[in-house]
Structures are given as structure tokens and as C-alpha cells.
């Protein structure tokens, strides 16, 4: 059973992103290519990064509450405070290093957990590309990270990888927390 954060990603965030994708697709097929096509694509990049950050933050919060539910009531607040204190995903982009730092608070080795599926290496690379593109757009830098123009196909690939990575995170944390708590975390 997926976490509520993953369900929200799949049923709400992905649906919204699909609508933005469709809008990008319609403007990028106009000849000559309007400036609006580039603006839409830039918006898609930032929204994808923002929605993935929102998922990661919500999912981390759900993990905190699952762990806190496993301790006596007087200690719940302590666990909740400590797991949230200086959480990187609250103020930083959803870079892999950020996710690793935050989720490893729960006592797992995220690199080792992700290495169980060889497909995750490419997903992490795509996450890195997304974050570089997000910074290019948000800071209106002069050149793209790749040196070439932003491409809708690339953003779609990054979205697909974010979606697959979200599912992997959910599986990994479910198994890890279930081992710790002795009950299903969600």
C-alpha cells in the first residue's frame, strides 16, 4: 500500500504536471515557434522541481509521524522535533544529496538501498539534470547546463524519472520503517 504522500504525487501532482506538459506540447508545435513555448517549458521545469520537492517533503513528514507513533506519548514531540530540525528539503532544492541527508536520519544507507535496483543510477542522474535546469531557469542564467536549448523531451524524461524515484523511495522507506517498527508504517 503506498504512502499518502505518494498517492498525492500520483493522483494530484502528476495530473497537474501532465496538464502543463500538454500545454507545452501545444505551444511547441506552433510554427514559427512563439516565445510562449520557451516560457511554458521554463515553467514546466520549475513546476516539476517544485512538485517533486513537495512530494519529498510530505513523504519525509509522513515517515516522521510513522516513527513518532511508535514511541510513548511523552517522547513523540522529541522525535518530531529532532527529525524536522534543520531538514534540508525545507529550504533546498530536491537534490539527491539533500534527500540522502534527510532520509538517512531514519538510520538507513540510501545509496545501498537504491543500488539494489540498477535503474536508480540513471534516475539520480536525471534528478541532477533537473536541478541544474531548474537553477538555469530560476536564476535566468545565460546558458543551459547542457549548452543546448531546453527540450520538452528532456523534461518529460526527468518527470518520468521523478515518478519512478518516488515509487522507489516509498518502497525503500516502507521496508525500512516496517523493520524498525514491526508494523506497516502506512
Amino acid at each position: 500500500m503506498p504512502s499518502n504522500a505518494l498517492l498525492d504525487w500520483q493522483n494530484n501532482r502528476m495530473r497537474r504536471l501532465t496538464e502543463v506538459d500538454a500545454q507545452c506540447g501545444s505551444t511547441s508545435s506552433i510554427v514559427p515557434l512563439p516565445d510562449l513555448a520557451d516560457e511554458n517549458l521554463r515553467g514546466f521545469v520549475v513546476l516539476l522541481s517544485a512538485h517533486f520537492q513537495g512530494f519529498c517533503r510530505g513523504f519525509h513528514s509522513e515517515c516522521i509521524q510513522a516513527v513518532a507513533a511508535g514511541v510513548p506519548a511523552p517522547l513523540r514531540f522529541v522525535v518530531q522535533r529532532q527529525c524536522l530540525a534543520a531538514r534540508e528539503i525545507d529550504k533546498g532544492n530536491p537534490r539527491y544529496d539533500t534527500l540522502k541527508a534527510d532520509f538517512e536520519r531514519f538510520g538507513l544507507d540510501l545509496n545501498a538501498a537504491l543500488a539494489a535496483n540498477p535503474a536508480n543510477a540513471l534516475r539520480i542522474t536525471h534528478l541532477d539534470h533537473l536541478n541544474s535546469a531548474r537553477n538555469y531557469v530560476a536564476h535566468h542564467k545565460a546558458a543551459t547546463p547542457s549548452g543546448g536549448p531546453l527540450a520538452l523531451a528532456d523534461v518529460r524524461t526527468w518527470q518520468s524519472s521523478c515518478n519512478e524515484f518516488a515509487g522507489e523511495q516509498d518502497d525503500i522507506m516502507y521496508n525500512h520503517l516496517r523493520g524498525l517498527l514491526g508494523v506497516a508504517p502506512w
Partner: protein, 69 residues
């Protein structure tokens, strides 16, 4: 400071966090059903020095209060 348990906690409410040494704060966000069995999670801003802090708690840990001293 009057306190009462409520199931209708809203953004902006002043709250006391139960099972703490009288920690009080203000609800700044309802994060959705991220707690056990879909329980609502609340983000609470706690005023403390040297800087304010946030905590995310469940509704059954909160009591609304008329104001935060």
C-alpha cells in the same frame, strides 16, 4: 490562558502541545493526511530564542488556547 480540546483546528489557531513542558505555538499549515491512518498533520510555529522553530504534530497532540503569552 484558556485551553480546550478541539477537532476543528485551523491555520492561525494558537495551540498548546500536549505531553510537553507547556510548549505553545501557532498553527501555520495543515499538511494533509500524513499521520498514522491518514491523521491530519499540523505544522506549528513555536516562538523561542534565539529563533523560532517549527514542529509537525498530530491533532491529538494539540489543544487550542485563546492566546500565546
Amino acid at each position: 490562558m484558556l485551553a480546550q480540546k478541539t477537532s476543528e483546528i485551523k491555520r492561525g489557531d494558537h495551540v498548546k502541545i500536549l505531553h510537553t513542558a507547556g510548549v505553545v505555538g501557532r498553527v501555520v499549515a495543515l499538511l494533509g493526511p500524513l499521520g498514522p491512518k491518514g491523521a491530519q498533520v499540523y505544522r506549528v510555529l513555536i516562538q523561542r530564542k534565539p529563533k523560532p522553530a517549527y514542529v509537525e504534530v498530530l491533532g491529538d497532540q494539540l489543544e487550542t488556547v485563546s492566546s500565546v503569552p
